[in-house]
């Protein structure tokens, strides 16, 4: 019995099994076909193979992400900023002293208050009184982080207090977002080594891409800044180093240091 014979026998069987084609069936089928409207868009079928392939892709992607999560340890460079920012967010005030190379100015006290109302006080002692004329008295100034208003006689002893913006000095120095205006975007803190600063274990970081070469030492344990050094090119060409040391956190300023009363003859326009 050949394959044709098998097919013929099967066809014969089907003929006997098949119901008769009746007029009623024809009318019913024609009515059903006419009652339907062709879909306007081609139906899209997702084959089992494609579904399986899609599932495998999702699985592979999940595994890669999971792996990346384990590999991306907190020691990675891109996490350094997040750790420092976290540490900074827990403190209210930053207090530091230091020295500035180009003006021979020594910071006795420099305190940035990270809560409103913004206020910064600075007490400076001139190494060379001839160079720093105003340094013989303590200044209290207020304003936002970018514009600080001083009561200078040459400006008519007029200070304008703008809306107090919360400042975050360390954040501004360190935040990669803040660098975007002045330097390459998306720069990361670069771990350049480990050292001991003020007797404490420190991680040394560099802020690459910034206009001033900036080196930051953070406490290896608390991730709070211990030292900040900036090297700015001077007009003469040699780098001028600005170093801020002795960071203190959450040390309250002396009582009465913020005196909003203008000096004699000065006027304050409060636009807050």
């Amino acid at each position: 019995m050949g394959s044709d014979s098998v097919d013929r026998q099967i066809a014969g069987l089907l003929e006997r099994v098949r119901p008769e084609l009746s007029a009623a069936l024809e009318e019913r089928a024609v009515a059903a076909i006419q009652a339907t409207r062709p879909l306007q868009q081609r139906p899209r079928y997702v084959s089992r193979m494609r579904l399986l392939a899609g599932g495998l892709c999702v699985l592979a992607l999940s595994l890669v992400m999971l792996l990346a999560l384990f590999v991306w340890t907190p020691g990675a460079k891109s996490v350094a900023w997040a750790q420092i920012a976290d540490a900074l967010s827990t403190v209210t005030t930053v207090h530091m002293t230091g020295w500035e190379g180009d003006s021979d100015l020594v910071f006795r006290t420099d305190k940035w208050i990270r809560l409103r109302p913004l206020a910064v006080y600075q007490e400076v002692t001139p190494v060379d009184p001839q160079t720093v004329k105003e340094a013989s008295r303590r200044h209290i100034f207020a304003g936002d982080a970018e514009k600080t208003y001083w009561y200078f006689p040459e400006r008519g002893n007029r200070a304008i207090i703008g809306k107090g913006l919360q400042t975050d000095f360390m954040g501004e120095v360190l935040s990669p977002l803040e660098w975007s205006d002045s330097s390459g975007q998306g720069a990361e803190l670069k771990v350049i080594g480990r050292s001991r600063v003020e007797g404490r274990a420190a991680i040394l970081l560099e802020l690459p891409g910034w206009k001033e070469r900036t080196e930051l030492a953070v406490d290896a344990r608390t991730k709070l800044a211990l030292r900040l050094r900036q090297f700015s090119p001077s007009l003469e060409g040699a780098d001028v180093e600005v170093t801020r040391l002795d960071f203190e956190y959450d040390t309250m300023p002396p009582e009465g240091i913020f005196n909003w009363a203008p000096p004699v003859g000065a006027v304050v326009e409060d636009k807050r």
Binding site: M1, S3, V6, D7, R8, Q9, I10, A11, L13, L14, E15, R16, V17, R18, P19, L21, S22, A24, L25, E26, R28, A29, V30, A32, I33, Q34, A35, T36, R37, P38, L39, Q40, Q41, R42, P43
Partner: protein, 208 residues
């Protein structure tokens, strides 16, 4: 000489295929335009074969075979825009729809309690009843065929049975059958060979 004969055969074959594709496209366009005769044309061209295909799966349930055929034709008309002559013939595409319909029916029947086929027969079929002798003869032949079909079905796997039926009803090519059952041409050849071998043994035994 022989090569000339072969080339004329090839040309005839190509001509047949071209005519078939044109005919399929014409019917598709008529259905899309909801032409009055399109529904009847679809029924006349495909209902006998689809009905035989459905009956092979439900040999003892005429009503269900008819329902599957009607529903398959209606689904084809609804989704006619999805028919792509570059991928398959209209016949193979319709068998694919019928196959899915049959699978849905089998699935729903396993969930429901089945209703006896007799209870589903429409009343208008009771008219024009033939004589008792004719009935006896046709019923006997039919029961015999149904039994043999059921035996073949249990002997073969689902896909082997489907491939055997598609090959027998319509003389579909291995490629067309492959597009209906979702197998490669080579796999269809292999399955068809196996199915025919198994069926041959059973049919020979039955003939004796």
């Amino acid at each position: 000489m022989a090569s000339a004969g072969r080339s004329s055969q090839v040309t005839e074959l190509e001509e047949c295929e071209r005519v078939a594709v044109e005919s399929d496209l014409a019917l598709r366009d008529d259905l899309l335009a909801a032409a009055p005769e399109a529904a009847r044309e679809l029924y006349r061209r495909f209902a006998p074969r689809l009905l035989a295909f459905a009956a092979s799966r439900f040999p003892a349930d005429r009503q269900l075979a008819e329902d599957v055929t009607v529903q398959s034709l209606a689904n084809a008309a609804r989704n006619i825009r999805g028919f792509d002559p570059r991928k398959s013939t209209l016949t193979a595409w319709l068998y694919g729809i019928a196959r899915r319909q049959i699978r849905d029916e089998v699935r729903s029947r396993t969930r429901q309690k089945s209703v006896p086929a007799d209870a589903l027969s429409p009343l208008d079929e009771a008219t024009g009843i033939p004589s008792d002798d004719d009935i006896a003869a046709s019923v006997a032949a039919r029961i015999d065929a149904e039994r043999l079909m059921a035996q073949l079905k249990s002997l073969l796997s689902d896909v082997e049975f489907e491939i055997l039926v598609l090959s027998a009803i319509d003389r579909l090519s291995a490629r067309e059958i492959g597009s209906v059952v979702g197998r490669s041409e080579r796999a269809v050849h292999s399955l068809l060979h196996r199915a025919r071998t198994k069926a041959r043994e059973r049919l020979t035994t039955h003939g004796q």
